[in-house]
Amino acid sequence: MRILVIEDDHVAASYVLKGLGESGHIADHAPDGETGLNMARDGRYDVLVVDRMLPAMDGLKVIETLRMEGDQTPVLVLSALSEIDQRVEGLRAGGDDYLTKPYAFAELLARVEALVRRRDPGAVQTRLQVGDLEMDLLARTVTRGGEEILLQPREFRLLEFLMKHAGQVVTRTMLLEKVWDYHFDPQTNVIDVHVSRLRGKIDKPYDRSMLHTVRGAGYRLQA
């Protein structure tokens, strides 16, 4: 997919561009807000990665302008400002996700890919299916190969998030943010424990495992 990176730090930008290129995406670079806005207006991009602090035009202003013009391209906001209020500010301006510097590239890639996928389904889903794993969002039931699996409420939400992003890498931080709504990293690997419990229910009794650990990044649910 096509990604526009609006970032004034050339070293940081080339690091991101290289990574995105290696992951099979086409990435362009804009070194300041104005150039970025003009390039984004072409509408050829699937995702925008926007740094908050930019010369010529502030990152949030770029997003606001695009949103006012009716452009709904998903935006990942990058910032060195980590306070929650600033995160909220970034999302309120029209950003879809917020990533604090410094970040691991895997984290950025996972979030960018998650943003694109999110835009696709459009209509409200009531059923999710990955391979022989099925989830009914209304009845709140999960089956694999027709067999019902009993999940705790939180396990259900965890699996729902994984299924919505099936085939993509989701990071521990993403899970903590989206499933638990915590914006800090606990010292102990609490997420690993929860994922392994979920794995025990949806994978262990079956011969083929679907929930994979991606080293140095997170997890991937795959059919």
């Binding site: 929650i84 915590y182 800090f184 606990p186």
Partner: protein
């Protein structure tokens, strides 16, 4: 010299000078009035008396001629009196009266004039005394000097004048001294404040303005200044401490990271696979960044940011969420986990910050309590009605004398050096507690299953939410 010039330039000195000047003018007016009311009144009284006498003489001469006048003069001249008379013939020869001769410097008209005369004392000597009088020229060339001894009055007037001059001098001296003293004191106190300000500017943040606790404006200014300096000192000390700590505590992991990279570079030159070393280096770097982020976060919290964003919440949901997140983790570590909550409690809190603080406490409990021990997360109403959230474990505990120390940044007890951690967890809890106005205490827990260790109870006690 320069100091004197500086003093002369001060506003207080100028104001004092102005006040002293006005004071002097007022005092002069008052003294002038006093002079006029005493000495002036006496002089006027004398003049009137002389005029009356003069009229009497003219009337007597007109009525009963020279003889009648002479009689009156003789009558009035007998005995000690302050009234003076001298009746003369046209050639100036004395006829009668208590004066021996006409004064030389008498005016030609009948205006009043001052003169001196010889006054006989008891021991047959004479003294010169001052007098005032006028000439009355009668028909036929006779003339009479009507006068009045003013020696006593003159002396009295001089005393009054002297008193007025002395008084003025004293008043002026006193005014200047008092003004000088007051302005000096005021200038001194301002100078003290300036000295403090300069000292602080020069880098001594412990300098404080002197206080006299009188509660006046300057004292209040000093108090406010000191309060401001206290806050600044706290912040800068915190920052400097953080800076020192970062420098000190990041050095070893940075060195480790550097060594590892150097090592893997050598390995790579020999064609060895350095994937693992790189992964470890990456982990080290991440650890460093995390530590860095924590330090910044603590510093921001300590600076008091976000204090305004607390909202009144029921902490139950926070406890439930955390219990749900941590229960499986504790169980996987072979620890039993319980949580219980009392209902109907409200606190002013920020969900994110409070969750993070409690997560730190739970992380610690899980990290340090050995397998088979227990952890409890509890929300209850303390005996004084305040909401109390506690994390209890039956692990090794923290010795009483180390409980304050471990809340400081980067402090790790020797017993825990082997375990992973940055030594920032409890500092963050303390910072979060401070933001919430909550008390953070560490105390002995309920003991442990090994009967050896006391366990640990970490308690956050919140002020009552309004």
């Amino acid at each position: 010299m320069t100091q004197r010039r500086a003093f002369l330039r001060t506003t207080t000195f100028r104001i004092t000078l102005l006040a002293a000047g006005l004071f002097a003018v007022f005092v002069s007016i008052i003294l002038a009035y006093v002079y006029s009311a005493t000495a002036g009144a006496m002089a006027r009284q004398d003049s009137r008396a002389i005029e009356t006498q003069a009229e009497d003489m003219v009337r007597a001469y007109r009525r009963s001629g020279l003889n009648g006048l002479n009689r009156i003069v003789v009558e009035r001249s007998v005995g000690a009196s302050e009234d003076l008379y001298l009746l003369t013939r046209p050639n100036g020869q004395r006829i009668s009266g208590n004066l021996s001769a006409l004064p030389e410097d008498r005016p030609d008209d009948d205006s009043q004039f001052g003169f001196t005369y010889q006054y006989p004392t008891e021991d047959d000597e004479t003294v010169e005394r001052r007098a005032k009088g006028r000439m009355v020229r009668l028909l036929g060339g006779y003339q009479i000097l009507v006068g009045r001894d003013v020696e006593e009055n003159a002396r009295y007037v001089r005393r009054v004048t002297d008193a007025i001059w002395t008084g003025s001098a004293l008043v002026l001296a006193f005014g200047v001294l008092l003004g000088g003293f007051v302005s000096r004191r005021f200038a001194q106190r301002l100078d003290d404040l300036n000295t403090v300000a300069r000292e602080v500017t020069a880098g001594n943040l412990t300098a404080r303005a002197p206080r006299n606790h009188s509660g006046d404006e300057l004292d209040e200014l000093s108090a406010n200044l000191n309060e401001m300096l206290d806050r600044i000192e706290r912040l800068t000390t915190g920052l400097r401490h953080a800076g020192d700590s970062i420098a000190h505590d990041l050095r070893s992991p940075l060195t480790r990271l550097r060594n590892r990279m150097e090592d893997s570079l050598r390995e790579a030159e020999r064609g060895a696979d350095c994937q693992e070393a790189l992964q470890q280096a990456l982990d080290d770097a991440d650890g460093l960044l995390n530590t860095f982020a924590s330090v910044l976060k603590i510093a921001r919290l300590e600076a008091g940011e976000r204090r305004e964003q607390l909202s009144i919440i029921d902490p139950q949901q926070i406890i439930e969420d955390l219990a749900e997140l941590y229960e499986p983790v504790a169980e996987d570590s072979g620890l039993s986990f319980t949580s219980d909550m009392e209902e109907g409690l409200t606190i002013r809190a920020d969900r994110g910050l409070l969750s993070q603080a409690l997560a730190n406490l739970l992380d610690n409990a899980i990290k340090y309590a050995p397998e088979g021990e227990a952890i409890a997360l509890r929300l209850r109403k303390a005996s004084d009605g305040r909401a109390e959230i506690s994390v209890t474990d039956t692990g090794p505990g923290i010795p009483a004398d180390a409980r304050e120390r471990v809340k400081k940044r980067f402090v790790r007890l020797d017993e825990s050096r082997s375990a992973q951690g940055s030594g920032l967890g409890l500092s963050l809890v303390q910072a979060v507690a401070d933001i919430h106005g909550a008390e953070f205490t560490l105390e002995d827990g309920p003991g442990s299953s090994t009967l050896e260790a006391p366990g640990l109870r970490a308690v956050l006690t919140f002020p009552r939410a309004r």
